[in-house]
Every structure is written in C-alpha cells, then in structure tokens.
C-alpha cells in the first residue's frame, strides 16, 4: 500500500511526461486516454523493480516510450491522420502568426515515425544526445545524425503546413 501511495505520488508529480508522450503519439482523445492508462499500468508493474539508479523522470520516459511504441490501437480507428485536434494546445500567444507556426510544427511532428517522435519528445524535454541515446539504447552519434535529419524534415514540413494570412 505504501508502495502504491509512493508510486501515485510520483506519477502525479511527473504526469506531464505521460501527457506529452500521449499527445505526441495519439491522434484523438480516446486513444490518448487509453495510452495514458496503459503507460500508468506498465509503470506500476515495473515500479517494484525501480531502484532509483536513474532519475524517476528518465525511467518514466523509458516506460512511456516503450509502451507508446508497442501500443496496439483499437481496431476501429482509421489510419493515423494529421489533425490539430490531436495536438497539444499551443500556448495562447498574442501574435497569431506564431500560434499558426506552432500549429504547423505540431502537425509536422504528428507526421513523423514512432521512433522519430520518441527522439523529438526527449529533445523537447531538453535531454542531451547522450541521455537520449541511453533511453533509446543507441549511440549518441546515431542520435545526432537522426536529430539533424529530423530537424531538416520538420523545417520543410512545417513550412508546408504554415499558410500565412
């Protein structure tokens, strides 16, 4: 029970991580809710073995990304489409142009592969290439090469989605 309380408390403190992963991987509210539950459940099942060797946030990212990448969507869903309904709410800026550019960037991210989304999620969280490499289990050089490619692709794709008024 004490362990469950401690876990719930940790998840409450770090639930933004789970939300971010759900937002980046799922394209509608129902799927996001399902994934949120699945990540929480997987984290709970693994929590008993959590020794505190890594930071809880890094550990939770690992669980969340593993779950999101291998998560089975419900059958009825249509193939993933890019829709603004799926994306995290951009901050309300006074400049509409920036808001539109942010939305365009979110749409571009939604079009990435599952692995690229994992890299973007960790990069946006300000993880170093070395930390990203440790979570994903690849080399830091590989992360650097992939990030350069992803950044270039997002730059081009977000231009396509951005239509200035």
């Amino acid at each position: 029970m004490a362990s469950e309380q401690a876990f719930i408390s940790m998840i409450r403190q770090h639930q933004n991580i789970v939300y971010k992963v759900c937002n980046i991987y799922m394209d509608n509210a129902e799927d996001r809710e399902d994934l949120f539950q699945e990540i929480t459940l997987q984290a709970w099942q693994a929590y008993r073995r959590f020794r505190g060797d890594a930071q809880f946030s890094t550990w939770l990212y690992r669980v969340a990304l593993n779950t999101a990448i291998t998560f089975l969507k419900k059958e009825k869903r249509q193939p993933a489409t890019i829709s603004t309904e799926t994306l995290p709410e951009p901050v309300a800026y006074h400049e509409p142009a920036i808001e539109e550019q942010l939305k365009a960037m979110y749409k571009a991210i939604a079009g990435l592969s599952k692995i690229d989304k994992a890299l973007v999620a960790l990069y946006l969280e300000d993880y170093s290439y070395q930390q990203i490499a440790e979570v994903l289990g690849i080399s830091a050089n590989n992360v650097a090469v992939k990030m350069n490619r992803i950044k270039a692709r997002l730059r081009d794709d977000s231009k396509k989605y951005y239509q200035p008024a």
Partner: protein, 208 residues
C-alpha cells in the same frame, strides 16, 4: 519555424493546469487490462500453458490407469510431448513477465519483444508440425496392436500399402490444413505487429 523554436516556446510555457489528475484518478488506472502486445502475449501464453497442463494431467491419469498397453504408450508419448511444450511455454512466459517488470532501453525492448514473438511462433509451428505425424504413427501402432490383442491375423506389410498410402494421404492433408490455419492465426495475431517492430528496430539501428 525550427524545432528549437518550439523547444524554446515550450520551455517558456508554464505546466498546463487543465489536465492534472488526482491521486484517486491515478489509483483507478492501476487495474490491469490487456491492451499492450506484451499483455496480450502473456494472456496467450497463460492460456496455452493452462491447456497443456490440463492435457498433461489427463495424459498421466490415462497412462497410469488404462488397461490397454498401446493406449498407455499413446498417452505416455503425448504426455512427454506436452511436458516439453509446458517447459517451453513456461520459459517464454518468464521472459515476457521479466520484460514488463524491467523497462529496457527502447531498442533492446523492441528486439526482446520481437524475439519472444518470433520464438513463440517458430516453436508453435514445430510443435504442431510434430504432433500430426506422431499422432498418425501412434494410431497405426494402436490399430495394429489392437488387432494382435483381439486375435485378428495382421496382414503382411506388402498387403498394407493401400492402408499406408491412405494414412500418408490423411497425414499430408491434415498437415496442409493445420499449416493454413496456423499461418492464418499467426498472421492475424502478430504479422503486422512483427512488421512494425522490424521497421522500428531497423530505423533505430541505422544511423540516418
């Protein structure tokens, strides 16, 4: 806009207060339900293991109580086969349970899931492929022994070829039916998923 601009904007943004969940909400999410492929695989393995254990018990009971020697041999052989399958399923189940209790790096995690599903389907194929010829061979022996026990003069081997051909026909026909059902079953359950896993592993392995 660049990805770094988005990162900068997100860093300026205070955590969204709208979507915070209470402790009770989170506690309600801890009730298991199978939605991940690992959980589905775990359920599948538990089910197969349960069926194999039940069959093993039945085989042992029949082997110990049957009066007919061929029947005892028949169930003894299937009991041993079933025991081997139980051990294999137990090993795979152990791997799946270990996987869900230790979060591995993403690439290693994907490779392990891929290995388990691939291994499971291969062993399943081998097991079902072995069962049919074993079953036919034992049936043949059983019929032969039954004839001897009941005092019926067994026909010579040279005269048995129509019967042997018939059995071979059943064996091939049965093997084909089992092969198609098994292939359909695994394609439906795991094929697309394995394809996706392979694609993710390939993507992580290549430096581009």
């Amino acid at each position: 806009m660049e990805l770094d601009d988005l990162k900068y904007h997100l860093q300026q943004q205070a955590p969204a207060p709208g979507e915070q969940r209470s402790a009770d909400d989170i506690a309600a999410l801890l009730k298991p339900r199978a939605r991940s492929v690992v959980d589905k695989l775990k359920l599948s393995l538990w089910f197969e293991l349960l069926c194999s254990v039940i069959f093993l018990i039945v085989a042992i009971v029949v082997m110990c109580t049957a009066e007919s020697r061929p029947t005892r041999i028949y169930f003894g052989v299937f009991g041993i086969t079933s025991l081997l399958f139980c051990l294999l399923l137990g090993f795979l189940l152990y791997r799946v349970i270990s996987l869900s209790s230790t979060p591995l790096p993403v690439k290693k995690n994907l490779e392990t899931i891929y290995y388990i599903i691939h291994h499971f389907s291969r062993r399943y194929n081998q097991f079902t492929s072995l069962l049919l010829p074993l079953c036919v061979a034992l049936l043949y022996g059983l019929i032969y022994q039954d004839m001897v026990t009941n005092g019926i003069e067994p026909i010579s081997l040279a005269e048995q070829w129509p019967l042997l051909l018939q059995l071979l026909g059943y064996c091939i026909g049965g093997a084909l039916i089992i092969y198609f059902i098994r292939t359909w079953y695994f394609r439906k359950l795991y094929f697309n998923y394995l394809k996706q896993l392979r694609e993710c592993i390939r993507e992580l392995a290549t430096a581009s």
